[in-house]
């Protein structure tokens, strides 16, 4: 759903304090409210924090570009720069989108923070003052999370939901064991899991038929999706199926005991924005996913 960007207000600063960012956001909101019949609607459903190491910078901005209009939230992008001298650089943007059939705009706020030097080790103290009160906090961790590291631990404690894409990790299924260690502390989402959804639906339709007695599942896909689908089948069926994996850039084929499964249809275009957007609609713990992760780590 492409909604026209009505206007954009922007502020940036180097070596700033968090209070400067808060103040700038207030001023930007006031500035953005001048054109329409009433103030821009600030309906927000969450604070969306993204932890974006350098190598993910471009991809994260691309994802966010398609996301702000769909999830009117406060997005806080954290760019750690551990080699740079200590300090905080910030850019704040208020994006106003035209609301179809209304003469008002909805406003989304994007805050980009460059955490230089030691600032990157203590992100909680920087983002806590910027959280929207009483609303859920989603943390999207780009790349493989450094399980056990202070910055991850701090953001996990802050978050209601941690969103990862295990397709971005180099060491699945081994890393799933570490991820499972977080399940008791924070609800977890995985974009790779979301990509398996049409195939899980298709497989569920085979029950009992070909699945009740199945012994082997062949999956042509990236390794994360194959592990998760295999783990899901094992955990739901309560027994181990042999997983035969062939590498492919997307989930291209699934076969049960040699017989191909017809692909399920997904309405989503499956851009990274669409997939993340779908994950941001989920709030509670996904125990089916957790079981699949544990089973694939075994």
């Amino acid at each position: 759903m492409a909604t026209p960007l009505a206007h954009q207000e922007e502020w940036s600063g180097e070596n700033v304090r968090v209070t400067d960012v808060e103040k700038a956001l207030c001023e930007l909101r006031e500035a953005s409210a001048h054109e329409t019949e009433g103030p821009d609607i600030r309906t927000r459903v969450m604070t969306h924090i993204a932890w974006v190491p350098d190598e993910w910078h471009e991809a994260a901005l691309e994802t966010l570009a398609g996301l702000a209009e769909r999830h009117p939230s406060r997005a806080i992008l954290l760019f750690p720069a551990p080699e740079a001298p200590d300090g905080l650089d910030a850019r704040a943007v208020v994006l106003a989108f035209t609301l179809p059939q209304a003469r008002r705009h909805i406003a989304a706020e994007v805050v980009e923070l460059r955490l230089r030097g030691r600032r990157g080790r203590v992100p909680a103290s920087i983002v806590t003052p910027l959280l929207v009160p009483d609303l859920p906090v989603f943390v999207r961790w780009r790349g493989r999370p450094p399980f056990g590291a202070q910055e991850l631990e701090q953001l996990v404690d802050l978050a209601d939901r941690l969103v990862v894409d295990s397709g971005e990790w180099p060491d699945v299924p081994a890393a799933y064991g570490e991820l499972a260690g977080l399940f008791g502390r924070v609800a977890c989402s995985d974009i790779a899991w979301r990509r398996t959804l049409p195939w899980r639906r298709a497989l569920a339709r085979l029950w009992p038929g070909r699945l009740a007695e199945a012994r082997e599942v062949r999956i042509a896909s990236p390794v994360a999706e194959a592990c998760l689908l295999g783990g899901w089948l094992n955990s739901r069926l309560g027994r181990r199926l042999e997983l035969v994996h062939a590498e492919a850039p997307t989930i291209e084929a699934v076969a049960v005991d040699g017989e191909a499964v017809a692909a399920g249809r997904s309405i989503e275009e499956e851009t990274t924005s669409d997939l993340l957007s779908a994950e941001l609609d989920e709030l509670g713990r996904d125990e089916v996913y957790e079981d699949a992760v544990r089973a694939s780590a075994e």
């Binding site: 759903m1 909604t3 609607i41 309906t43 459903v45 209009e69 769909r70 999830h71 009117p72 609301l99 179809p100 059939q101 209304a102 909805i106 959804l197 049409p198 899980r200 639906r201 497989l203 569920a204 339709r205 029950w207 009992p208 699945l211 089948l233 739901r236 069926l237 309560g238 399920g264 249809r265 997904s266 309405i267 996904d286 125990e287 089916v288 996913y289």
Partner: protein
């Protein structure tokens, strides 16, 4: 639930219970409803992979079309009225499951043709004899259809009946139809559509009331001054003169949509969201509505006027309408729900055609604060708290509260806190028919009207209409493009209240 327990893979997948294989048999398939609502909804479900894996649609109408002709017309309809982008491969799949029989179902040979085609479809598509019969036909055609369908019911598979509104045209005909339906179908197999119940915003009324702790304690006569429910249309009767001349606003909208909104607003909390739990509570409200006295009901008919800048003819000048028609295009009533929660709290309800704008709203006006510790001049612009549920357009909820105007001294005015669906949930709202068709295929009747609800609704309408028969109204009595007759304003202003006009 049984299927969920049996199929371990369904846990966490939505919907938890996919519909079982079935054929959707649409009677009246050449009509507007099939084109504008049913097929666009089926396409939206197909696109989301929500239709049963073994599924077919069989359209039936008198018009002589071949399967291909019907498919081509429905494709045009989906392209025109669908809410999603058109995807060739999705349509092709749905089209390949779409069939048509041009016949008069009322005659024996027509029934034979339909039966033979259904058997063929079962054989080809594995639909197991399961049927959802959708009666998208005028009320006078329903009895014959129900009787014939019932008499030919086979023991193979299940059968469900979706019946479009209006269900009957008065209490007697509704009872007769209910009796006939129940001779062949159990109540659990009957799905009486009031498409308002399929609207997200109408369902959200229940969520607002029963999922939030802050509203229910004040949702009663002690805190609420009155309720206003408006179903306003700026359109005229379009090409529905024949139906509308017989029905009028009271049968077209008041009997169903308006009274359902009253029931949802006034009902007690159900113990769960089960079909009977919800409907048990709704029917109690309908039973508790006191028949309004003659000065508590106003009817109207529009004359010539301007709507959105366009000059529009009077109702009596519309094609197919009698030049001296006494049919009402507007009705308003002051209703009392005589129970502990609502005693003495009026529900002002109104509906009309060719009104100033299209709007469906439930407005809950709370009582004013008992004492204002401010000067009178400071609160001149302060109005009572109002909770507005916007059913359409601008779907959402607003709460009007008093706020201090910034500056020296104390000046207070009313401001709105808005929750707009479109501003918060940035995915398109599903059309009511998508939800209702899927629910009927799954056998979930929560959002459909039960026999006793329909009968209670007709009881009230019959009492009003009976009184109207003894009067001769002076029509037209409101200009198109306005908010209805002056008498409607008088009705509420007598109580020192006024209609919300925006």
């Amino acid at each position: 639930v049984t299927e969920l327990a049996e199929n371990p893979l369904l846990e966490g997948l939505e919907p938890a219970l996919p519909p079982e294989p079935c054929v959707l048999v649409v009677f009246g398939a050449s009509g507007d409803l099939t084109r504008r609502k049913i097929f666009p909804a089926l396409y939206a479900l197909a696109l989301r992979d929500l239709l049963p894996e073994s599924f077919a649609v069989l359209g039936i109408a008198r018009t002589e079309w071949a399967d291909e002709e019907f498919r081509s017309r429905m494709e045009t309809a989906v392209r025109e009225f669908g809410r999603d982008e058109f995807r060739e491969e999705v349509w092709e799949e749905l089209a390949s499951a779409t069939f048509y029989v041009g016949t008069d179902f009322a005659d024996e040979s027509g029934e034979d043709m339909v039966a033979a085609r259904l058997t063929e479809i079962d054989h080809e598509r594995g639909t197991l004899g399961n049927r959802v019969y959708y009666l998208a036909v005028p009320p006078d055609a329903m009895e014959v259809l129900v009787r014939e369908l019932g008499e030919r019911r086979s023991s193979a598979g299940w059968g469900r009946l979706i019946v479009e509104k209006p269900f009957g045209r008065d209490l007697e005909s509704a009872r007769r139809l209910n009796e006939l339906v129940h001779r062949h179908f159990t109540e659990e197999e009957v799905f009486r559509i009031d498409h308002y119940l399929g609207k997200e915003t109408v369902q959200n009324t229940l969520v607002l009331r029963f999922a939030n702790g802050i509203f229910e304690p004040i949702w009663n006569r002690q805190f609420i001054d009155h309720v206003q429910i408006t179903v306003a249309e700026s359109l005229g009767i379009e090409q529905r003169a024949a139906f509308y001349e017989q029905a009028g606003a009271i049968r077209d909208i008041f009997q169903n949509h308006l009274l359902q909104l009253v029931a949802l607003t006034g009902m007690e909390p159900p113990i769960d969201f089960d079909a009977d739990s919800v409907r048990n509570e709704k029917v109690k409200v309908l039973r508790a509505i006191r028949t309004p006295s003659s000065d508590e009901v106003v009817r109207g008919q529009y004359g010539q006027g301007f709507v959105e800048g366009e000059e529009v003819p009077a109702y009596r000048e519309e094609d197919g309408v009698a030049p001296d028609s006494q049919t009402e295009t507007y009705v308003t009533a002051k209703l009392y729900v005589d129970n502990w929660r609502w005693a003495g709290t009026p529900f002002y309800v109104r509906t009309g055609k060719r009104l100033a704008r299209r709007e469906t709203t439930i407005a809950i006006q709370f009582k004013s604060a008992p004492h204002l510790p401010f000067e009178q001049t400071e609160t001149e612009e302060l109005r009572p708290n109002l909770l507005l549920i916007h059913v359409q357009p601008d779907e959402g909820v607003s709460l009007a509260v008093g706020a201090k105007v910034p500056g020296q001294g104390m000046k207070i005015r009313t401001v709105h806190m808005d929750f707009l669906y479109g501003g918060t949930f940035r995915t398109g709202l599903p059309e009511a028919y998508e939800r209702l068709l899927l629910d009927a295929m799954r056998g979930d009747a929560t959002l459909f009207t039960r026999a006793d609800e329909v009968e209670e609704q007709w009881k009230l309408v019959d009492a009003i209409v009976e009184r109207w028969k003894r009067e001769r109204p002076e029509f037209p009595n409101y200009e198109a493009g306005t908010w209805g007759p002056e008498a409607a304003d008088d009705l509420i202003e007598r109580d020192a209240r006024s209609w919300r006009h925006h």
